[in-house]
């Protein structure tokens, strides 16, 4: 029962973070801040959902596979964000450091 509640808290928390990340993607003004929204929230969002699913599954082979996906995401997600930001930097895209007067950022 307690495990069930805990897993649902984790699942809902993960889902909430996913939605926040999606909003951030549209809200932020340039590539790098959007990366921040997508990268950081996505990593934690996937982690929380996987943890929640692992608690739902109990201790079995499924849990082990979920743990493997967990490790895989733990390494690939931040690396992908890093590679993307790096590619944008090398491609000559400068971060937008100040609020532009007539920009579309709220």
């Amino acid at each position: 029962m307690i495990i069930d509640i805990l897993s649902w808290i984790l699942l809902l928390g993960g889902g909430l973070l996913g939605i926040i990340g999606g909003i951030g993607m549209h809200w932020f003004p340039d590539v790098y801040s959007r990366q921040h929204a997508a990268g950081t929230t996505d990593t934690l969002c996937a982690m929380l959902i996987l943890l929640g699913l692992a608690l739902q599954a109990g201790f079995s082979l499924v849990t082990f596979k979920l743990a493997l996906i967990f490790i895989f995401l733990l390494f690939t997600n931040p690396t992908a964000s890093h590679a993307l930001a790096n590619a944008a930097m090398q491609g000559g895209l400068r971060p937008q450091l100040e609020r532009t007067a007539g920009g579309d950022n709220p």
Partner: protein, 327 residues
């Protein structure tokens, strides 16, 4: 109820993606959308309980195709030219609308999804469901149908993959290469330490996973096609991070060509061996002491052939594309 809801959401996402692909002119974004399209289809297959198909779609459609298309636009250009339409093309539009209406009308006669009375469910499917596990000893029915009952079809598929590889080699391979460089994105990037370390950590894991998929195909979703794709993805990752020359030192293209032929040869060879042992072509029952053991061995060998062929062909295609802009 919840499945219908998920189906509707996924299908509408697919429709939105398709429209977005049509309306965009940036080829890079279009390729990314193609990847999303494949991934949505894979999710749809997974919801429909076709896990093997979903796995293949995710690996081939969303994974490798995206990389191959990216390698292609690295050689050409990233922007589609705007075609200015001066007058409306009423004739093509009406043809499309009429064809679409006929097709929609045709779907009205189709049996409902999962209808037990549908022709697809009444023909050979009950036989497979009843006998497949008993006759081949494999818990995963999809693999026994794919590699044994329909082994001839799968042989055709492998030959198609092989032919694609040969065609790419004939068109783009060979020694003469374009001399003006600068188009080759894969070669010039100096990648950061983080990328190199993570790639070194991940590549062995991907290879182990590919082997798991290859040999676990008898028992769960997986098999030669998916394993070959995943294995070539590992090498493609290596190529992207460490460069083309390093990758060609790891797996020389000449060996890849031999491997591609070897995969098809294993598949056809198993068929020849079954004839020599007195069976029909690709009837594995004669391979072992008992029928079930023979089927098991045959399916294992055939899947291995598929895996090797798919791995080698995809890598040949990628390396040929990537090596195109090199001096």
């Amino acid at each position: 109820m919840i499945e219908v809801f998920i189906d509707i959401i996924l299908l509408s996402f697919i429709a939105v993606t398709a429209v977005a692909i049509l309306r965009m002119t940036n080829l890079f974004a279009i390729i990314m959308l193609f990847g999303i399209f494949s991934f949505l289809s894979a999710s749809l297959f997974a919801v429909m309980d076709a896990v093997d198909v979903a796995f293949t779609e995710a690996a081939v459609g969303a994974g490798i195709s995206t990389v191959l298309m990216l390698a292609t636009i690295a050689l050409t250009k990233t922007q589609k030219e705007k075609v200015s339409v001066s007058h409306r093309h009423w004739l093509p539009l009406s043809v499309v609308i009429v064809t679409g209406a006929v097709l929609v009308y045709g779907t009205l006669d189709l049996p409902a999804f999962g209808d037990p009375e549908a022709p697809a469910q009444t023909h050979v499917a009950p036989y497979y469901i009843d006998k497949a596990v008993e006759e081949t000893g494999l818990p995963n029915m999809v693999t026994s149908v794919l590699a044994s009952y329909r082994g001839f079809d799968t042989l055709g598929e492998v030959v198609v993959v092989f032919t694609a590889g040969v065609a790419v080699l004939l068109l783009l391979g060979g020694k003469h290469r374009i001399s003006d460089t600068g188009t080759n994105e894969i070669e010039k990037n100096e990648h950061s330490l983080i990328l190199r370390v993570v790639a070194k950590f991940l590549i062995p894991l991907i290879i182990v996973f590919a082997l798991y998929v290859q040999f676990h195909g008898d028992f769960g979703p997986g098999g030669g096609f998916q394993a070959g794709v995943i294995l070539s993805a590992a090498i493609i990752l290596y190529t992207l991070v460490f460069g083309l020359d390093a990758a060609e030192r790891v797996i020389p293209p000449s060996i890849l060509r031999i491997l591609a032929s070897l995969g098809v040869l294993i598949y056809t060879g198993v068929g020849i061996v079954t004839i020599l042992l007195g069976g029909n072509y690709l009837n594995y029952s004669v391979l072992g002491d008992s029928k079930v053991a023979g089927q098991h061995l045959g399916i294992l060998l055939v899947e291995l052939g598929v895996g090797i062929a798919v791995f080698a062909v995809l890598l040949v295609i990628f390396l040929t594309f990537a090596g195109r802009g090199r001096p």
